[in-house]
């Protein structure tokens, strides 16, 4: 290969590296704003609430997930504060008895069974282990949906390579397995894919 050939080869090589690492990852995701904004930190710092005041394990062992209007209406019977989102929430959703169609960052495929109760109560894991610092967020960041798979970017994690994903990010099967292995736990396929 002459000099020109080598140069072209490396141009293609470097070009693809740049494209693959910097251009391709954002192209894979489509951003959606949440229907209204919500501040976790307002609820935790100003009112002294904790995660499990809204996201709790029910008496039958099921996890409540994202709170419904029923939970929120206990405090938000009328508009509290002056934000536009609060007003929209109360007037457009609560008063019209319509649930907020949140985009769920952590939604897993239908073939996965994840028991919150075992992880929270039996393993005594904190919410941050999987959900990171979401509980101290001031705003809800845009939901990034994978254009092919349809799942949230939070499942793959922020790093395109999945190398050096910060703790509390990434919710793929390998993340579950790694954590189980770190704790010396073995689990078969049917542990999660029931």
């Amino acid at each position: 290969m002459n000099n020109k050939g080598v140069l072209l080869f490396f141009t293609g090589f470097i070009g693809m590296l740049l494209f693959g690492w910097f251009v391709f990852p954002p192209l894979m995701y489509q951003s959606f704003e949440q229907p209204i904004q919500f501040s976790h930190v307002t609820h935790t710092d100003m009112t002294g609430m904790s995660c499990n005041d809204c996201h709790y394990v029910k008496s039958d062992g099921r996890f409540s997930g994202i709170p419904t209007n029923e939970n929120c209406s206990m405090c938000h019977m009328a508009v509290l504060g002056e934000t536009e989102d609060e007003k929209i929430f109360v007037e457009e959703y609560l008063m019209k008895d319509k649930e907020v169609p949140w985009f769920v960052y952590a939604r897993q495929p239908e073939n996965v069974y994840f028991p919150h109760v075992q992880h929270i109560e039996l393993a005594e894991m904190s919410c941050e282990t999987c959900h990171g610092d979401h509980g101290s967020s001031e705003i809800l960041r845009p939901f990034q949906r994978n254009r092919i798979s349809g799942y949230s970017r939070d499942i793959w994690g922020p790093s395109a390579s999945r190398i050096n994903n910060p703790p509390g990010t990434g919710m793929k099967m390998n993340d579950c397995i790694r954590c189980h292995e770190d704790d010396g736990l073995t689990i078969g396929c049917i542990g999660c894919h029931k």
Binding site: K4, F9, G12, F13, G15, G20, N111, S149, G150, W156
Partner: protein, 723 residues
């Protein structure tokens, strides 16, 4: 450097780009995303989003009746678990049961009646009209009824005792030459020897496994799904604490049960009955038994430990020790089992094995083999004529003109040869009532699909080993496809066409009616899985309340029978001393001429639930194809010495030749196998995932096994050679 940009330059640029791509997330991310995308294609069933809750029911895939908890999303089950503390399975569930909710979407699922055309073992299907099928059956019945024929109209039921079983018997009693046929593959075929010595109906006896301190299992796959799965494991687990429980497995192959047992006794295949006589000899000679019939003593006297050792290949000291264990670490229970693929022992072989229980005084209320009440039939089937229960091997050869196969499976194998020889050659008409085009259904002429697991009400009578009568109902969780027909409705349509009398209620009504009869008995208890409580039947005030409990997965358990005395009629059974002795002599003296032609012994083996005609769930493929945790179809286990003798090589094909035909197997060497024996696996039907348009019938070990007139095929003389 040239300034022109040519085709080669483009290739170099693209080549560099492709080489660079490997070091970016592009291929790996796309591969991952696309694989997830394929899980979400529109035609792949995805449960609707909705409220998550649990429903309790009973598994109907086999006869055990395990309690299941379905996790439902918007009312649809998305996962199944065993129910902890359930009287049957105590939280455990088999790989088939775990995937039971997938069965409605199985690739081999039939959604309308089909006609099958068999061209050289390739089956093609075309849609058929249910009414046409009924007309053919009705016309044939009319011909038989007009006196022109002695041919039989039969229904084959592998799971007798259900409400639909009574419906078959009712219709067959109404029509000329009707015959209700069972195979005993639900486990009762291994209790024929017990029936022989006591003269009792095996359906009214069960085992007191939980009370046993020693269990000697003659080939019963106790740890592999035998009877009510987990009972022996539970007894073993409880026995570990007081270090008293002992399980002895008498079986040629180092099966899973043998590996878990406290002691494995690897007898030569086919000599288990002789081993039982050796134990009887020691029990009698060492005065562990009080009263024995003199003629039985004389028979047993011939089977000294040394002679039995020579025949069975088991050391004489081990024979003596086993007998002493039975006598000193009692109560001891001796079980005679059916190999899921290899079938039952012949009834002559069973007689000495079950006879050991008689010698040890094991039979009777509160003993090891206990009488139990029958489960009452529904009102519609009481005080009316029902066809008698006939064993398949007792049906005359070439006599069945119309055969209706109920494809509710027992989990154990039945060779098609056994059925085929009963059919009128070239004229027989076989209709299968199966939800799937798998296994035996591929041999039918027409299939009218029935609802599958959790698609309709089904009732679950007691497993053959249950200590007391039990009853449960599996309530539907899915709606079956439009052209699926409940077998009882199919029978009613035949009755309508032939002018026969049949109960008018729906199948659900008939099951409910039976539940009502059980409630009226005012006996026993009902386990309620929703709260784990056990309620006395007498405290359940109304039939409606009782039915409600059964609908919610409740499990009715009868009281033990304490007032029935059981007498052993003859330790020779109805066979008689001379015939039994002659059979035992045949076992003791191998046919040398036959051994020259067929020097090895072919023995089928497999796991319950995958060797029958039923469909398999995705977990099963993990156990077979992917992990090879279990040997798949046509894997042959051979001792390395046998392999050397016949120049066989590991993982290479070999040909097995028997009187019935030839079979190509794949060789696997195993030190635990006896020299001269070839164990060939029967695994899941690989055609079960190829759809329903065109399927093939593939040969397996049952195709080349010698099926004798009594319906046994445990071992077959064979040759083996390289391909």
């Amino acid at each position: 450097m040239s300034k022109t940009f040519n085709r080669r330059d483009i290739i170099k640029l693209v080549g560099g780009g492709l080489a660079g791509m490997v070091f970016t997330p592009i291929p790996w991310k796309l591969l991952d995303d696309i694989s997830i995308w394929t899980q979400n294609w529109s035609w792949i069933p995805v449960p609707p989003k909705g409220e998550i809750n649990s429903k309790y029911s009973i598994c109907t895939i086999c006869t055990a009746g395990c309690g299941i908890r379905a996790r439902c999303v918007a009312g649809q089950p998305v996962s199944l678990w065993g129910i902890k503390d359930h009287p049957v399975n105590d939280g455990a569930l088999c790989p088939l049961g775990f995937g039971g909710h997938h069965l409605a979407y199985h690739p081999a699922r039939l959604r309308h009646p089909v006609k099958l055309v068999n061209d050289n073992n390739t089956i093609t299907t075309t849609e058929a009209d249910r009414d046409d099928i009924i007309s053919i059956i009705a016309d044939t019945i009319a011909n038989i009824g007009s006196g022109r024929s002695n041919e039989i109209v039969a229904a084959l039921d592998n799971r007798p005792g259900r409400t639909v079983s009574f419906a078959y018997r009712k219709l067959l009693a109404e029509i000329p030459n009707g015959m209700y046929v069972t195979t005993g593959s639900n486990g009762t075929d291994s209790m024929e020897g017990f029936s022989e010595i006591t003269g009792e109906n095996v359906n009214t006896f069960g085992f007191n496994i939980e009370k046993a301190k020693t269990i000697v299992s003659f080939g019963a796959p106790l740890m592999e799904g035998w009877g009510i799965p987990g009972r022996v494991y539970g007894a073993m687990k409880n026995g570990i604490h007081d270090k008293q429980f002992k399980l002895i497995q008498v079986e040629p192959r180092f099966s899973h049960s043998a590996s878990v047992a406290d002691q494995w006794i690897p007898v030569t295949p086919g000599t288990e009955a002789i081993f039982a006589l050796g134990i009887a000899h020691v029990l009698i000679k060492q005065n562990f038994v009080e009263e024995v019939d003199e003629s039985y003593k004389n028979l047993v006297a011939e089977y000294t430990p040394q002679r039995v050792s020579d025949i069975t290949g088991i050391r004489r000291e081990l024979i003596v020790d086993t007998a002493r264990s039975l006598a000193t670490n009692g109560p001891a229970l001796i079980l005679c089992g059916r190999e899921p693929a290899g079938g039952p022992f012949s009834h002559e072989e069973q007689i000495p094995i079950w006879g050991l229980n008689s010698l040890l005084g094991n039979i009777g209320p509160d003993k090891m083999i206990v009488p139990r009440n029958p489960v009452p039939a529904g009102k519609s089937f009481q005080d009316t004529e029902l066809a008698t229960v006939t064993k398949l091997s007792d049906v005359p050869d070439k006599s069945i003109r119309v055969l209706i196969i109920d494809e509710s499976e027992s989990g154990n194998a039945i060779p098609w040869q056994l059925i085929e020889r009963k059919l009128v050659p070239d004229k027989a008409f076989v209709v299968s009532l199966s939800p799937y085009l798998v296994g035996m259904t591929k041999r039918a002429h027409y299939v009218v699909p029935a609802p599958t697991h959790l698609e309709s009400y089904q009732d679950i009578p007691p497993s053959f080993d249950a200590r007391t009568a039990t009853y449960a109902v599996s309530a539907p969780m899915y709606t079956p496809p439009d052209k699926v027909t409940e077998p009882v409705e199919f029978l009613k349509l035949i009755a309508e066409k032939t002018g026969s009398d049949m109960p008018t209620g729906s199948y659900t009504d008939l099951i409910r009616e039976r539940a009502g009869e059980i409630h009226k008995k005012n006996r026993g208890w009902v386990y309620n899985p929703t709260n784990g409580r056990i309620t006395e039947t007498a405290d359940i005030l109304s039939e409606r309340q009782f039915w409600g409990l059964l609908n919610d997965g409740g499990y009715w358990i009868d009281e033990p029978v304490n007032d029935t005395q059981v007498t052993v009629k003859s330790l020779f059974g109805s066979v008689g001393k001379e015939k039994l002795k002659s059979k035992l002599d045949d076992i003791s003296r191998p046919n040398l001429a036959l051994q020259v032609k067929y020097p090895v012994m072919l023995v089928p083996f497999g796991w319950r639930g995958v060797v029958d005609s039923g469909p398999v769930t995705p977990l099963i493929s993990k156990l077979y194809q992917e992990s090879e945790f279990r040997q798949g179809t046509n894997r042959a286990l051979i001792h390395p010495d046998t392999g050397s003798l016949y120049r066989l090589r590991k993982d290479r094909p070999a040909k097995i030749i028997t009187e019935a035909g030839e079979l190509t197997v794949r060789v696997e060497f195993n030190d635990s196998i006896r020299p001269g024996v070839v164990h060939v696996a029967l695994g899941p039907d690989q055609d079960r995932i190829t759809g329903v348009k065109e399927v093939k019938i593939k040969e397996n070990v049952l195709s080349v096994s010698a099926v004798n007139g009594h319906g046994t095929w445990r071992s077959t003389p064979a040759r083996i050679q390289t391909v």
